[in-house]
């Protein structure tokens, strides 16, 4: 029998979708039975008390959780978020119920053995409940007590060869799409650079150095499967410089209905025969495509790599061969000043190990500027907005180019620097006086 009556939570189980309430109940039952005979290191009934406190929150219409504290593992400033219940007498098993973030493998590739090993640690030393995955991509362990933090950390690092993720004013766990491991659209090896940057910037990941959080995300192509353009302070989006490769025979096969569009993704309904004009050419955002007879033509300089035509006809159209990535900066969620999408900083850069150009010319100058000028709890995107995109170009030493312009100039003032003006500010007064009277 359940420890707490939970009528409102029970109602959440009645829908057709999977329910987190059912999941918590299943774990509560499993812990009560303890078929593996584990020596649980945190209260066996923590999942029951978790359900109880959640029911109370629904009843009161407000949370009974507090967050934050000094909890963590020695030497690390992130990876653990203190959680405390404000009704510890009613729900003693979740009085201290801290969250741990575990660095996910690049591309979220893991074997079932690795998952099983993670859960072996967590069932013994935590609640057994996880969140796969947190919004930064981490494997999130939900609920343990302070004495278990070092134990879990030891097991993760020594037995599973993995590490805690980022939290607080740190570099957050870098995340990437599945990339070249499975996807033919990937323009660079997202997993390689994600893994490299995670190792390279360990200090920034674990020891707070910044005014606020900072995120890297690596997308292999502009489909942006990890939403780097919307969610990361520095977004790396795969792209190419040359032409989209066209297989004209396959184009004909799509037009003739021999190959289903979108790789058959819309097969559940009858959408009628494929119409290349209606579904591709006429809705190209830059109008860079046309049919010359039965031949498809793409005017590459006009193409913005939106990916739509490639997504619709993946057998006929392929990404170009001269590949790299675009770098965009300043995306963030709407806590201050509204949500912001990232702004383009570098239209194309080759992505090659050891990534020196990226580190020395982009990442580190941006960090130096933000650490110096950023206000407490100010994201990079807000600093760019406050001091201007021009300042970002200054600190990175990147020359302004038309791709940096989002809209026609709305600010009528132009301030030139001396080095930008031929001859600078100094002039020969005698030469000037030859043509201009006093």
């Amino acid at each position: 029998m359940a420890k707490h009556e939970t009528p409102m939570l029970d109602q959440l189980e009645s829908g057709p979708w999977p329910s987190f309430v059912s999941d918590i109940k299943a774990e509560a039952e499993s812990r009560a039975k303890n078929e593996k005979g584990l020596d649980y290191q945190i209260p066996q009934d923590c999942c029951d008390d978790l359900l109880g406190v959640l029911e109370l929150s629904y009843k009161h219409g407000r949370t009974h959780w507090k967050h934050g504290g000094i909890v963590g593992v020695f030497g690390y400033g992130g990876g653990v978020i203190g959680r405390y219940c404000d009704q510890p007498e009613m729900f003693p098993a979740v009085a201290h119920f801290h969250t741990m973030r575990v660095n996910q493998p690049s591309g979220k590739f893991y074997s079932t053995k690795f998952l099983g090993d993670l859960l072996d640690i967590w069932e013994l030393r935590g609640s057994g409940l996880t969140n796969m995955h947190g919004s930064t991509g981490d494997i999130v362990f939900l609920g343990t007590t302070t004495p278990q933090l070092e134990e879990v950390f030891f097991d993760l690092t020594h037995k599973l060869d993995t590490d805690l993720g980022g939290s607080g004013s740190n570099l957050r766990t870098p995340s990437c799409c599945i990339g070249q491991a499975r996807c033919e659209f990937a323009c660079y090896d997202t997993q390689a650079i994600c893994h490299y940057m995670t190792n390279e910037y360990q200090d920034e990941l674990h020891r707070p150095a910044f005014p606020y959080k900072f995120k890297f995300k690596f997308d292999g192509c502009p489909n942006c499967c990890v939403a780097s353009i919307a969610r990361s302070d520095i977004s790396y989006i795969g792209t190419w410089r040359d032409d989209i490769r066209i297989d004209q025979e396959a184009v004909k096969a799509y037009i003739g209905g021999e190959i289903p569009p979108n790789a058959g993704a819309h097969a559940g309904r009858d959408w009628g025969p494929f119409d290349i004009h209606k579904e591709v050419i006429d809705i190209c955002p830059t109008g860079c495509m046309r049919m010359d007879g039965d031949k498809l033509e793409i005017n590459t300089p006009e193409c913005t790599r939106c990916m739509h035509c490639i997504n619709v006809m993946p057998k006929a159209l392929r990404i170009g061969n001269d590949r790299g990535c675009s770098i965009l900066c300043g995306a963030k969620a709407p806590i201050l000043d509204g949500a912001q999408m990232a702004s383009l900083l570098i239209p194309f850069i080759k992505v090659e190990e050891p990534y020196d150009e990226l580190k020395e010319k982009v990442i580190e100058p941006i960090w130096d500027w933000w650490m110096e000028e950023g206000k407490n709890r100010e994201r990079l995107g807000e600093l760019i907005k406050r001091q201007g995109f021009q300042k970002l170009l200054d600190v990175t030493g990147i020359k302004a180019i038309p791709q940096h312009v989002a809209e026609p100039r709305s600010n009528p003032y132009i301030f030139w620097k001396e080095e930008e003006v031929p001859g600078g500010w100094k002039r020969d007064i005698n030469e000037f006086r030859k043509y201009h009277q006093r």
Binding site: K66, G68, I70, G77, P211, Y212, K213, K375
Partner: protein, 79 residues
């Protein structure tokens, strides 16, 4: 400035503060205005390792204070 001298200034400045016990990293930069931010950051993190200072994290932001000073758990506004 010598590292030990910086550490001394940080501890003395923190001890003099009244009310608040935890501070943003940027507040530490202001304590040592002549030193580069990155160097101060490294010293502050070293002081955490030496258990002179400790981190306090809300989950999204990190504050740093003298070890043992103030409340260790989450607090509500006004407490």
């Amino acid at each position: 400035m010598e590292k030990e001298e910086v550490k001394k200034i940080i501890v003395e400045t923190l001890k003099k503060k009244k009310g608040k016990t935890k501070f943003y990293l940027k507040d530490y930069y202001k304590m040592i205005p002549d030193m580069k931010a990155r160097q101060v950051k490294n010293i502050v993190n070293e002081m955490v390792k030496e258990e002179i200072l400790e981190y306090w994290s809300s989950g999204s932001t990190t504050l740093i204070g003298l070890k043992g000073a103030g409340k260790a758990h989450a607090t509500e506004e006004g407490e």
